[in-house]
Symmetry: C2
Subunit: 208 residues, 2 copies
């Protein structure tokens, strides 16, 4: 069974030493396919190596353990596109949240989430992978709120974590509990609602 690649060469990260980005992307995609087929607990380095067409040593030279490979793969998959500083809170937040919605729309990735959650309940290293995945996926949105706060666009006491919980939460809840994806237009509706919840009255008047 083959799976369309989820991660392209461009989206892999560099560490300190030179890496073969294309090989890294191949291994990340093999990891996703292996986890999709066997679950997080059942996936093995042997299986990933076979899917990637490389030896086990090639993987172990890069990542000393399955946990580290999983965390690298989670980070590669969730690395947001460079979110621009547009000077508009709505636009910044939209750019930061859209990749989360897009990720949840990809069937291969969305299909991994329920089993990841089920296995994370019983396995600390899978839980750690999940936390890495979640923290990366929300980072740009948190930064967009902080920039808006510094500009004075939002009420100074606004809690960035709560605001991002509501946005990312709505997307995850729709996908997992309602079975619905959220397209770009619907992401914009969500973001406008969230922005409205914390904008200073001057900013609301400018936007309306």
């Amino acid at each position: 069974m083959t799976t369309a690649p989820v991660v392209s060469t461009r989206t892999t990260q560099r560490r300190g030493r030179p890496r073969d980005d294309r090989l890294d992307a191949t291994i990340v995609n093999a990891t996703i396919a292996e986890v999709g087929a066997k679950g997080w607990g059942g996936a093995t380095i042997e299986g990933i190596a076979a899917r990637a067409g490389v030896g086990r040593g090639t993987i172990y030279r890069r990542w000393p353990s399955k946990t580290e490979l999983f965390q690298y793969a989670a980070a590669a998959v969730t690395r947001p596109v460079e979110a621009p500083d547009t000077g508009s809170f709505v636009d910044d937040l939209f750019s930061a949240v859209l990749p989360i919605a897009d990720m949840l729309t990809q069937p291969d990735l969305a299909a991994l989430l329920p089993s990841l959650l089920a296995e994370a309940a019983n396995d600390a290293s899978i839980r750690q992978t999940l936390r890495t995945f979640v923290a990366r996926s929300r980072q740009q949105a948190i930064e967009a709120v902080e920039r808006a706060r510094r500009r004075g666009d939002i009420v100074q006491s606004t809690d960035a974590e709560t605001l991002v919980d509501m946005l990312a939460g709505a997307l995850v809840y729709r996908r997992l509990l309602l079975g619905e994806t959220t397209d770009a237009a619907a992401v914009r509706v969500l973001v406008r609602q969230a922005v409205q919840s914390c904008s200073t009255s001057e900013a609301i008047e400018e936007n309306s």
Copy 2:
């Protein structure tokens, strides 16, 4: 292994004909314990009957199939307390959303959710149970938004579903992805933020 009862006699529903509410509650609790032990797919009427200390016939006379029993149990567990019409949008929404947070705080129930999600992906009847569960858990919050709309407390174009997705979503996202529960004080913070996102300016001034 015994499990503390999740559902008390009071929280079961009546259908058209007379029921033994205490027996219904016993069977619902046995269902939750069985699913917790064997998963949704592995749970059997035999196992539930044994845990409840009743014969299979007693269960089949009430629910003709496992799916119907699961849906009844999901509805019993998620039936919100009677949410009062206080005339205040913040208070109504708080009363409607708090039971969702409380449900996610109960370890027995919260532990069922990831496996329910994982199994729902591959089983239409489990998916149907999940939809029943979700629809019931959000119903009071949707009604609170509609009452606020009729009173003119919120912008008339406010989308109740989106607002409730953000609130319920934040709670589910925190529990499943961040591993955090939300206490009553934090639910109030969330609700205030959501109310702020759609209040008419008159209502905002009254509240501040």
